[in-house]
């Protein structure tokens, strides 16, 4: 398990170095996305108002307050990624996204797309938002404020992480491997308990 540190935007050669279980720190701009804004992009066909080439996208919807007309973080954390799984192909193919950050893992289909397009899924520690919030330097811009809190958040981080590589660009999918082992183990236990 190697340790890496990258600055966004990411190049394909950056993410191709990573393997599941590796630890990553990220510096620079990361875009906060989730259900509401991705539904607008893909189901309502509204192009995102920012450039996502080489971008790292974080599944989030922060707690913020406005100070002198500018949003400052109160608590910024990570939400369950699987809800946004069907948007992966469009994000990688149409917008050139290189990293999706979230919690809880993504599907085998996402792993195949990440191998094809050269992208990774970085697992943020869900629920540990206090730590993540301290790694923010600035909320630079907020797009689509009418969706509050599901706007697109342009946030600059210093040393976001350590993140765990959950899906690499070689077909590896750590959370799905753990899930498959758990399913097998559960079947075995249920048999022992006389439940099968």
């Amino acid at each position: 398990m190697a340790e890496f540190r990258f600055k966004t935007p990411l190049a394909e050669s950056d993410v191709r170095q990573l393997h599941v279980g590796d630890s990553v720190l990220l510096d620079g701009v990361i875009f906060g996305v989730r259900d509401g804004n991705l539904i607008r992009v893909f189901d309502k066909n509204v192009a995102p108002p920012c450039d996502w080439k080489g971008a790292a996208l974080l599944h989030t919807a922060p707690n913020v307050k406005k100070v002198n007309g500018k949003y400052v973080p109160v608590c910024v954390g990570t939400t369950t990624s699987m809800r946004m799984d069907r948007f992966t192909e469009g994000l990688l193919r149409d917008y050139g996204v290189r990293a999706i950050l979230g919690k809880g893992g993504m599907s085998q289909r996402t792993a195949e797309l990440m191998k094809q397009y050269g992208a990774v899924y970085l697992s943020v520690t869900g629920g540990a938002a206090a730590m993540e919030t301290l790694q923010i330097e600035e909320i630079e811009k907020v797009y689509w404020e009418d969706l509050m809190p599901e706007c697109i958040w342009q946030i600059r981080f210093k040393g976001l992480g350590p993140l765990t590589v959950g899906i690499d660009a070689h077909g590896g999918n750590l959370q799905m491997d753990v899930q498959a082992q758990a399913n097998a183990k559960a079947a075995e236990i249920m048999k022992k308990m006389g439940l099968a």
């Binding site: 989030t60 699987m82 919030t133 559960a186 236990i189 308990m193």
Partner: protein
Amino acid sequence: MGGLMEVAQNFYEVVETTCRDLYIQSLKEIPPDVVDAIKRAAARETKEVAKRIFSHYLRSIELGQKDNMMVCQDTGIPIYWVEIGGNVRFDGAKLTTAIIKGTERATREHPLRSSIVAPISRENRQTSTGERIPIIHYDFVPDSDEIDILFMPKGSGSENMSFMRMLVPADGINGVKKFVLENVVGAGAKPCPPMVVGIGIGGSSDLCMTLAKKATTRPVGSKNPDPKIAAIEQELFEAINSTGIGPQGLGGDTTALGVHIESAWTHITCNPVAVNIQCWRAERRRAKISTSGQVTIGF
């Protein structure tokens, strides 16, 4: 004790500010029984990735306690469990209004992210309230002259992992165990494990689900007073923890912090089971309010 006690004039204002404080503090201070369970799990963990995740949990717990930070960004669905002492005389409609106002004030004054939207239009009032939200459960206890309010900000990562089935009597308790294991293991990484698994057995479909949620509010690792049910809790606890799902579903030795069952009697044709899950923080906060307006805070 014994006599009926009318609440003091400022009682509803006290309830309002207390509910505001419960919401905010529940997001910052993780209950001590949960912290102990996380510490024990971290100490015995053998996998490297899982150890790293536990260190993030413990750091965030500390930031909540010492630096007054919200531990998680999810402000949840606000849920109140209110137990009213039989000796207390009060205006129930005013009590409900005070709880709703306290919820809105927490959201505005801290400020907190409003996580509540209309189900179809997805409109967000930015108040953490809306039609039938906050959720308030009322119950009554004899020989008490106080009101006990237990608050939980129910996060969606775990709430989305809720499961209910009307099994038939022929499925027996084995059908119940199988349903629980299949669904908890299937939830995997999504509810932010290690989790507290709440299970409802019996009742009607709606009561069964409420019991499952109520079960998650018990102190972590507490046992059902019925030894037969406690034995099932232990059996399922061991089974879930042998799956290796671990913190964040990245693999590890602890998948559940506790398995709690609550039950109710049911219909002769029914065998209902429900599962409701709490994430690793299992947030809750309690206030006991006397008729004179004295407040005691706990978990």
